[in-house]
């Protein structure tokens, strides 16, 4: 059976060109970038080039502002704990939103345990943070604002530049988790005007396990991994050279014709959204209709539960995801959908289909063909349907 992958918000396939670029860095150019000799220099050169490419993709002024990490989670942990640690004598208040990724939320909760005070801002029914709420939440002791650029579940894109203006006026460090945005939409750290920005390669066709934290020059932050002097002393550990090379190549490819690719994916997305709305009743599109990632489709489908939708789709060869997940012995509805005002019941029936450059018109047609039957099968089994 030919399978269709529509879970690109979870992770993407590595671009074969990216893999090609990486290959020599396993078995041939295998030196340690910190080593003095020629093997080391070759690796060092490769890391330098990759750093330039990543800096380019997000329009950083200086490649030195890019620190490679093991992925989005580390970037978020580093940014938030690093600023908290560094500025804790100045204040202990952090502002975030209630729809952040767990890498941000659980890090904030960890800091609450350590005596920090965190404000979780609400969002409207489209998942948007109101900059006025940010302003109102600021206190004397606010040291950090961390709000994501684009949401991983519903794709809503936040007004970060407006929020960063408020941060700047109040002299507060601002971080954005741009893990879902980088590679999908144009991201410019100067337009966004943020101090810190997290990105993760596997969301845009580099391998998993490699990411970066953008740290604007002059930003005060404690390091996260202690040890050797790698990454100008900001992240110890022997560099993941092949991964870094892959991230660099993926960044370069992502930047090429970005707007064109964005338009194409958006068009597929809209076809999928419109098609689903046409074929299936009693459903709700989650997330903002237009301030939305090009590849994100998220519906709540009433009377049925997400995991069983996924199973039916999987059996039909379609890989998708849901905000409903049985994590540790209980089905939990997505904190994002709940924060957007959905009832738990409706939130449990959510389905996310996320596209990448590899998805085609035919993929969309297949989903539009399969999904209605999946829904009606499950509804026929549901004790709360038609009652």
């Amino acid at each position: 059976m030919e399978r269709i992958y529509m879970d690109n918000a979870a992770t993407t396939a590595t671009d074969p060109t990216v893999l090609e670029e990486m290959k020599p860095y396993f078995t041939e150019v295998y030196g340690n970038p910190s080593s003095f000799h020629s093997f080391g220099r070759e690796a060092r050169d490769a890391v330098r080039e990759a750093r330039d490419k990543v800096a380019d993709l997000i329009s950083a002024d200086d490649a030195k502002e890019i620190v490679f990490t093991s992925g989005g989670t580390e970037s978020d942990n580093y940014a938030i704990k690093g600023v908290a640690e560094e500025l804790k004598d100045k204040g202990k208040h952090i502002i975030t939103s209630s729809i952040e990724h767990h890498a941000v939320l659980h890090t904030c909760e960890y800091l609450e345990d350590k005596g920090f005070d965190v404000t979780y801002l609400p969002v409207d029914e489209d998942g948007l943070v109101d900059p006025a709420d940010v302003k109102d939440a600021i206190r004397e002791d606010t040291i950090l604002i961390t709000i994501m650029l684009a949401n991983n579940e519903v794709g809503t894109i936040q007004p970060i530049s407006e929020i960063s203006e408020i941060a700047q006026e109040n002299d507060i460090t601002i971080h954005t988790d741009a893990v879902q945005a980088v590679g999908s939409i144009p991201v410019d750290v100067n337009e966004l005007n943020v101090d810190l920005l997290s990105l993760s390669g596997h969301k845009f066709h580099s391998p998993k396990g490699i990411g970066a934290l953008y740290i604007r020059q002059g930003t005060r932050i404690e390091k996260y991994l202690h040890g050797g002097a790698q990454e100008r002393g900001r992240r110890a550990t022997t560099e993941n050279v092949a991964g870094i090379v892959g991230l660099g190549k993926a960044a370069q490819i992502a930047g090429q014709n970005l707007e064109e690719k964005q338009a194409k994916i958006t068009q597929l997305r809209d076809k999928l959204i419109d098609g689903i709305l046409e074929e299936i009743d009693e459903i709700k599109l989650n997330g903002h209709r237009t301030k939305r990632l090009p590849g994100n489709v998220n519906f709540s489908i009433r009377y049925i539960e997400g995991e069983s939708i996924l199973m039916k789709l999987d059996l039909a060869g379609i890989a998708a995801s849901s905000g409903s997940a049985c994590t540790s012995g209980s089905l939990e509805a997505s904190h994002v959908l709940l924060a957007m005002g959905l009832s738990a019941e409706v939130a449990h029936g959510s389905l996310r289909l996320s596209l990448s450059k590899y998805n085609t018109e035919e993929d969309i047609d297949k989903v539009l063909n399969v999904l209605p039957e999946v829904v009606s099968d499950l509804r026929a089994m549901s004790p709360i349907y038609n009652q």
Partner: protein, 138 residues
Amino acid sequence: MMDYSDKVMDHFENPRNVGEIEDADGVGQVGNPSCGDIMKMYIKVDDDNKISDVKFKTFGCGAAIATSSITTELVKGKTLDEAKELSNQAVAEALGGLPDVKMHCSNLAADALRKAINNYLGIETEEEDDFHCHHQHG
């Protein structure tokens, strides 16, 4: 995180005894939509106190659907006493095991069945299940 056995997948894909029994002798429901699962069982009881027919409707995860299905198979033709004894363990075993995090799902089906039997027998059951996600304490 689900890695279901072939048996679970079979019952999920081809659930047995789905539906309602119009003139059921007993009906039992557990779960709550806000917890992401509701199971409803309908039974017909014959003169020998045996379950002559049983049907279910389930809103829930794949394990919930599969456990509902196997439960109906396991109890069809059994006496009420036998059926009441059906343990969650037995349900899980009949399915070739369930992932750890899904073990609680097997409670639901057996609970719904017991409720249906009690309903037939005229025994009241507490309705605690309707107010919080009971499988969190499961």
